[in-house]
């Protein structure tokens, strides 16, 4: 597990920074909630100030902002999904390609270790980082929920967290595949960040515009739409299936491509 240990150590600082920032934002946002519910009138005024299409885009028309979970779905979920995905793709897109960019791959692959093992340890490091970030998100949220004296349905909250985790892993798996296939680490980071942002943009657009529903299939953010999850109290099994298939195919592609890749430094 030498490569895994090394990757964990190298990424510890970045994981720590992301965790602290996300935790800070979550706690700050959740601390507003009690005041928010106290003054119903201000809240309604605030909401009516938003244009309808804006509310549709962010699911505000279907989420009850007056409940803690609704508040979470509207104010926090988009941050954990978006920022977490950015963290995931930045981590994964560098994971394999950086060895080639920094030409250290020649050292690594001249050691008695199979390529599959190299990828497996790197993949495991990516997954560990993502799981840790999500555990941090979950724990901080649970702490933040204590600001309000209101019970959160834990099962639904758990589904939201699992959905977020699944989405982070999906993006990471795609970025890892790109990292195995493409050469320039910087290009890979740009491409996979682009995928995340486009996916986010599509989820917003498909919410506003009628007739663009088919776009939801291209947006991972729509796959774990908090309004849907909260009202159905379940994850959409079709979307979960698609994410799992994308994860499996990407990881399989990463292994099989890298196994035969010509390492030209």
């Amino acid at each position: 597990m030498m490569i895994y240990n090394r990757e964990m150590k190298k990424n510890m600082k970045s994981l720590l920074i992301w965790s602290i920032i996300l935790a800070g934002i979550i706690l700050m946002t959740l601390s507003i909630y009690p005041q928010f519910t106290q003054d119903q009138q201000t809240m309604n005024d605030l909401l009516s100030a938003y244009p309808d299409s804006f509310k549709q885009a962010f699911g505000m028309d279907r989420l009850n902002i007056g409940s803690l979970l609704g508040f979470y779905g509207m104010q926090i979920h988009f941050m954990t999904t978006l920022f977490g995905s950015i963290f995931a793709v930045m981590l994964a897109s560098n994971m394999i390609a950086k060895e080639e960019n920094e030409k250290t791959v020649e050292f690594l692959l001249s050691k008695p270790i199979t390529r599959a093992r190299v990828i497996a340890e790197k993949l495991l490091a990516v997954l560990t980082n993502i799981v840790i970030l999500n555990v941090v998100i979950m724990l901080v949220c649970i702490v933040g929920f204590q600001f309000a004296d209101e019970d959160v349905p834990l099962k639904t909250f758990g589904l939201l967290i699992i959905g977020t985790l699944l989405m982070h892993i999906t993006f990471a798996a795609i970025a890892l595949l790109l990292s195995a296939i493409m050469k320039k680490a910087r290009t890979i980071t740009s491409v996979s960040l682009g995928l995340v942002l486009i996916s986010y943009f599509l989820s917003v657009v498909s919410g506003i515009t009628d007739g663009l529903e088919f776009l939801t299939y291209f947006s991972l953010f729509k796959y774990i739409d908090p309004a849907d999850i909260i009202s159905n109290e379940s994850l959409n099994s079709l979307y979960v299936g698609i994410m799992l298939i994308v994860i499996v195919l990407s990881i399989w592609g990463t292994f099989s491509y890298y196994r035969k890749k010509d390492i030209a430094v």
Binding site: K103, F107, S110, P112, I263
Partner: protein, 290 residues
């Protein structure tokens, strides 16, 4: 068992030529040189042997193990020094070497300090602060640390000053005494001449010849320098004369062929002075590249 055996090994890239049908055998315990100009396919051959590149044709074995399917096993007994040494910048030299030793499950890490002392390398510097030559030293230690049965060295002396080169050759000789086989590529011929038992010459991706160093130097070519009265345009009506250069009365050329034919012809000329030498390997080398 042979240390290394290549059978029609080929590697074509999508766009450019790599190597074509290279067949050669390196015996156990031998120091085997691999020479050719830049771009001839030396590094391609070495990288294919290490399975960094997938061969497109032919096969090769190292100590009887297939380079593709048994790559991991092969790397346990191989030490590799790439031509350009690149390591993790955030590591100190000592960290990198210990990291490398762990891959080989090599426990005798005192040897790192012994080797570093011989090569005068400061192990506590970060890789990114090391000069090219010092990084090469880390590479050398990394390659020979685990006492491999086969050392593959790609242009090993580049970046080392002449004194260090001598230390390096001493280290290599010591490994050889312990029974290691050494395969090293170079375009610096004097070091090949100094070290190797046999030499393979590669040109444009194809193996030109494999010869003993002595054979290559002694038997194949003579360098002839003549000073001839009225000899501005001396002609040799037979095969085997190469690189003829005439300057006033002086004519120099390389000769490969029957010495009697040459000497009989020289006897007919009005010779002031004659010098017959063994050519340097550089000249031998040039000859193969004509």
């Amino acid at each position: 068992m042979e240390a290394v055996e290549l059978k029609n090994l080929s590697k074509f890239y999508k766009k450019s030529r790599g190597i074509e049908n290279v067949s050669l055998t390196i015996h156990e315990g031998e120091i085997f040189g691999f020479i050719g100009p830049n771009g001839a396919g030396k590094s391609t051959t070495i990288r294919t042997l290490l399975n960094l590149l997938q061969p497109t044709g032919g096969t090769a074995t190292i100590f009887g193990k297939d380079i593709v399917s048994d790559s991991k096993e092969i790397k346990k007994i191989v030490g590799y020094l790439p031509s350009e040494v690149h390591y993790y910048d955030d590591m100190k030299a000592i960290d990198l070497l210990q990291y490398s030793a762990k891959f080989h499950h090599y426990k005798n890490t005192n040897r790192i300090y012994e080797l570093a002392e011989k090569l005068q390398l400061d192990l506590n510097r970060k890789m990114e602060d090391l000069s090219f030559g010092n990084r090469k030293k880390v590479g050398i230690i990394q390659a020979i640390l685990h006492e491999p049965k086969l050392l593959i060295l790609d242009e090993p002396t580049g970046g080392l000053d002449p004194l260090m080169q001598n230390t390096f050759f001493e280290l290599i000789s010591k490994e050889r005494e312990k029974g290691a086989t050494i395969f090293f590529s170079s375009h610096i011929l004097s070091e090949v001449q100094k070290m190797c038992d046999r030499v393979a010459i590669i040109k444009d991706g194809k193996l030109v010849t494999v010869e003993k160093v002595e054979t290559l130097i002694k038997n194949s070519l003579k360098k002839i320098s003549l000073t001839i009265e009225n000899g501005e345009d001396v002609q040799f009506p037979f095969e085997g004369v190469k690189d003829k250069q005439t300057h006033d009365k002086n004519t120099t050329f390389l000769y490969r062929g029957d010495m009697n034919v040459l000497l009989n012809h020289l006897a007919t000329l009005d010779i002031i002075d004659v010098l017959i030498q063994e050519p340097s390997l550089d000249e031998v080398f040039m000859h193969y590249y004509e």
